[in-house]
Amino acid sequence: MSNHHAVAKTQAELAELFSQDLTSGVGRSVKHDSAAKHVSGEAQYIDDRLEFPNQLHLYARLSDRAHAKILNIDTAPCYAFDGVRIVITHEDVPGLKDIGPLLPGDPLLAIDTVQFVGQVVLAVAARDLETARKAALAAVIEYEDLEPVLDVVEAYRNQHFVLDSHTHQRGDSATALAAAKHRIQGTLHIGGQEHFYLETQISSVMPTEDGGMIVYCSTQNPTEVQKLVAEVLDVSMNKIVVDMRRMGGGFGGKETQAASPACLCAVVARLTGQPTKMRLPRVEDMLMTGKRHPFYIEYDVGFDDSGRLHGIQLELAGNCGCSPDLSNSIVDRAMFHADNAYYLGDATVNGHRCKTNTASNTAYRGFGGPQGMVAIEEVMDAIARHLALDPLAVRKANYYGKTERNVTHYYQTVEHNLLEEMTAELEASSQYAERREAIRRYNAHSPILKKGLALTPVKFGISFTASFLNQAGALIHIYTDGSIHLNHGGTEMGQGLNTKVAQVVAEVFQVDIDRVQITATNTDKVPNTSPTAASSGADLNGKAAQNAAETIKQRLVEFAARHYAVSEADVAFHNGHVRVREQILSFESLIQQAYFAQVSLSSTGFYKTPKIFYDRSQARGRPFYYFAFGAACCEVIVDTLTGEYKMLRTDILHDVGASLNPAIDTGQVEGGFIQGMGWLTMEELVWNDKGKLMTNGPASYKIPAVADMPLDLRVKLVENRKNPEDTVFHSKAVGEPPFMLGIASWCAIKDAVASLGDYRHQPNIDAPATPERVLWGCEQMRKLGAAKAVEAETEMASL
């Protein structure tokens, strides 16, 4: 068949195709790349992979003491079980024994002491999990108990810290507080949160030549797993390959804490030469791994008659658990977000990193930011009750300005501030004022059930605050048939990152996304990657992939211009086709021609975030490239006899810049909101007085189920607001910011309860607002405000 003949015949059709828009590029609601595989059960997770012959299964024996000296470990009884291959303790680790991500403190296997209930003391490898488990439980460990610290307030008072405290300061808060017309103080406990990724931590390791390992690990941070596996084996990083196709959820829980199973497997694989897999049963996962940091807050705030802040002192005491892990950055981010959307006036924000004998708390969606924001939202509500103002009025009075009052307490100017216009839009679309009145009327006539309403904003800083992490790489190959192989350093945990990055590549080449093959994140394709965290996945990896694609595209343009003797400006890519001045050819035809002309069709890409800098010693700088904004309005109904509640309606307006994929972004907004709501309502972590986590499975730890969704959920993305910064196609990060929309649900519950005290008193309802805490809040209101409430109800009823 003559190519020339075919082209000549279809030139008109090609022109027609060329003129049409790409349907799967940037800004389109392309389906998640794995959706069809998810629903058919064909999507492979690590535990679904075919097992290697002679595969070993690993089970860890966990400490049942919160703090104890290990006197003796007897592993001999383990070997009585048929099928046991090896038992390891810290003495068997060939290289470094500590897998702390930045600072030591996380021994792979306990050395001399245990620091929390759930710490790994030894591990047994056997031919099946059940044998490994039985054998591990047969080991005899002798302890001498030491005094544990289990209470964050005790740790804070005694300055029992994993790391030094740190301060953000602007102006003189003490003087401002003393001079303020109104001044109130308060405290608040904010609970932690279990990630509850549906797929528990898992790694499967295969020994290779030269002392190397292939590590299949469900991790957000393949490079760190690579580094830690190399370190515990005492080999160089180039011997280790980490492969990560998809996680069954991460949420921060697989940023550092996925490394332990990988390293344990690697040690066993090294010692035995056999492939080794470790999948944590749910209870063990919940006992072993850290969670969102619980915080204890003290505030002292001065304000005027309008509720506007003049001065504030905030103590943010994060419960880090037993080791630093990522707590330095997490408490820092809590401090960075202790302003949320508000100009604090003269402010002193102190962050403390308290040490307790619990699992080392770790990254979790928002990374400390949510805790800082809950603290200031509690302050806003408390001010409103004190002044008998609508909480929304107090919030708006404190919003950052556009030209003044627009510098944060860490001296970053808040640019491109959408708070005011988004709040106005949401206030109107949610009919806040009308519903506020309707709720007052309802409450006046409903003695048992009370409704509450709250509208809260979100301003969330985007970038890793450890500035060097703001870099990413990508690798693109185009094969001779025109198909594209895409790889980048980000990891897919359900957030649709791979889909978005593929859309970026499709957009650059102007080809259908089906032509772009998404592949597993792999440390031997793209090296030295940052964790997929801090909402940065698409921002960083999308840009890196765009860079790689643009490099190849530029080569193609140069080639076409040369080959067809036209100027580069005459070469255009559109909808799977390329126009070279008048002539149109298919993308794959151009690729074939380029190949024969010896043009390289493979390129890496790289990106680093511009503009950011931060001097922690001065607590000044621009740690964030930009801010993402959002606002949520929640209405709830509360049973004041039991404290139970139901979310009635939630309206959300969220800012994603120019969305890369509206369906995926909406999914992040909705899912983030519900997860944030769960954190602040029903998700309660309870430890017993020995430091054991009692809520260690889904029977006792309750994440939102379908009935917890608001009856009426209305989610809208802000339209026509491109990110003014030069981000990937002017989109904004979306992973974490919507999580904090959930704060509105907690404030709405407090609003309903406050109605019992005629909105004059702030109910003391720590987070999470479980039905029990809500009932105690109701009791508090009934005692404080009974007389006034009766008076007001009578008054209202007579209207």
Binding site: S34, H38, G249, S446, T642, P698, V706, D708, M709
Partner: protein, 481 residues
């Protein structure tokens, strides 16, 4: 040997360990890893599969499809049934309509919970005539998703129930019915491996004989509690007798003055009959665990395991329910409250089993309340049931029972004493509330403090008073679910 259809393939299993769950059977024995383990305790739904059973009713013979948790189902309970897992839905390269709906509605993110949702939706579609938000909620309450926030999954449910093209299960129904009939059990089956065995009798008489012969056996009904001993506590159950194939014990009969419910009737089968008689019993059953659990779990099991936090006993006690116990060919009838003696201690003798539950009808003063951290699929902090008879403003009879307040489901005797003979007014209610503090000294645990348990128990009595006296006042947030 047990026999069942693995989708369309006949499996005759001779030597499976009777402690093997359907989840591990699928993943490890037949190489179908689509079904996921999220918790192995029946709380997340990632392992949801669908079981088809022959069912005859006025519409004739058909296959009834039900969702259940594969992690809590022992393989022996598949005997005579059809097991459908997520791999079986895609047909001739085409996604099933429920799978297509999930894709189109962006219902998956990380995808790990997705196979379970797909199977719950499949069962929902098979059991729905039209989209119904309440039914969708009910079908999905036992499936946890940490990513999406559920909105797109509910949208998929609506789409899947709007658009129900004939699928391969419909087109093969006659054939499947014939194949199930061909393997319909005709005599007691046994699955054994080494020294472990599970016996599967078909009649009450056979059960009585077997239980007499194996008094150490554990009775397996839904297994939703028993299986936890294997999956969570890693014990071995050497002898089980599965009662789920005994038709007599699954019957629900309505008489003029009572319901008689076979002890092995699934909770989801009890729902219709109980809701009709006592709407609050229906509401509680809707919040009782999840549909997957209710499709398996039985009323007899909820009583038999004597948990202090089982939700049905307080309600049944308040209604004055009785149970019929059977041992050999001897039967006795016992008031339910007399069955519970102490924490997990009952009046049941060796080899004696609960055959049926007798629930009196016509108690118009019956109300029930469940208080939990999460509205759906959560164990009660407090479960309360009140059943007062009021004649001319005076309380002539009172039955008040609570779960979660003591080591057993228990009547509140001091409270009842205050109530009986007293005028039905706020002052009496306050006296009765005070008496509850004499009846109960609840414990603090991760679900609730003892103070909260007592105060909410008292407040539930106050609420009961308000509901009966001033029904126009709204008292339940569950009305908004």
């Amino acid at each position: 040997m047990i026999q069942f259809l693995l989708n369309q393939e006949l499996r005759s299993e001779h030597a499976l360990d009777p402690n093997l769950t359907v989840l591990n059977y699928l993943r490890e024995h037949v190489g179908k890893p689509g079904t996921k383990e999220g918790c192995a305790s029946g709380d997340c739904g990632a392992c949801t599969v669908v079981v088809g059973e022959l069912h005859s009713d006025e519409q004739g013979e058909r296959i009834r499809y039900r969702s259940l948790n594969a992690c809590l189902t022992f393989v022996s309970s598949l005997h005579g049934k059809q097991l459908i897992s997520v791999e079986d839905l895609k047909h001739q390269g085409q996604l099933h309509s429920v799978q297509q709906a999930m894709v189109e509605c962006h219902g998956s993110q990380c995808g790990f919970c997705t196979p379970g949702f797909v199977m719950s939706l499949f069962a929902l579609q098979k059991n729905s005539d039209a989209p119904d938000r309440d039914k969708a909620h009910e079908a999905l309450a036992g499936n946890l998703c940490r990513c999406t926030g559920y909105r797109p999954i509910l949208a998929a449910a609506e789409q899947a129930c709007c658009n129900k093209p004939q699928d391969q299960f419909d087109s093969r129904e006659a054939q499947t019915i014939a194949r199930l009939k061909a393997i319909a059990p005709t005599h007691t089956a046994e699955l054994n491996s080494g020294d472990k065995r599970c016996l599967v009798p078909l009649t009450v008489a056979d059960l009585a004989d077997l239980y007499d012969a194996y008094p150490q056996a554990r009775l397996l009904a839904g297994g939703t509690d028993l299986a936890l001993e294997v999956t969570q506590f890693h014990r071995t159950l050497p002898v089980m007798i599965y009662v789920g194939n005994i038709d007599e014990m699954k019957r629900i009969e309505t008489f003029d003055d009572r319901l008689e419910i076979g002890a092995a009737a699934a909770l989801s089968d009890c729902y219709t009959a109980l809701r009709h008689e006592y709407p609050d019993f229906g509401e509680l059953l809707q919040r009782f665990a999840s549909l997957q659990i209710r499709n398996q779990g039985t009323l007899g099991g909820n009583i038999g395991n004597a948990s202090p936090i089982g939700d049905s006993p307080p309600l049944l006690i308040a209604l004055g329910a009785q149970i019929v116990l059977c041992k050999g060919n001897v039967r006795r009838t016992l008031a339910l409250e007399d069955y519970f003696i102490d924490y997990r201690v009952t009046a049941r003798q060796d080899s004696e089993f609960i055959e049926k539950i007798i629930v009196p009808k016509g108690h118009s003063g019956f109300r029930a309340y469940k208080v939990s951290k999460r509205l759906d699929d959560d164990i009660s902090a407090v479960c309360a049931a009140f059943n007062l008879k009021i004649d001319d403003g005076v309380i002539s009879d009172a039955r008040v029972a609570f779960g979660g307040m003591a080591a057993t489901p228990k009547r509140a005797q001091h409270c009842e004493t205050v109530l009986i003979g007293a005028p039905w007014n706020a002052a009496t209610v306050e006296h009765a509330c005070a008496a509850l503090a004499e009846d109960f000294t609840p414990l603090s645990d991760f679900r609730a403090s003892k103070e909260y348990r007592l105060l909410s128990a008292q407040n539930l009595l106050r609420k009961y008073f308000i509901e009966l006296q001033t029904p126009h006042i709204e008292t339940r947030v569950t009305a908004y679910v």
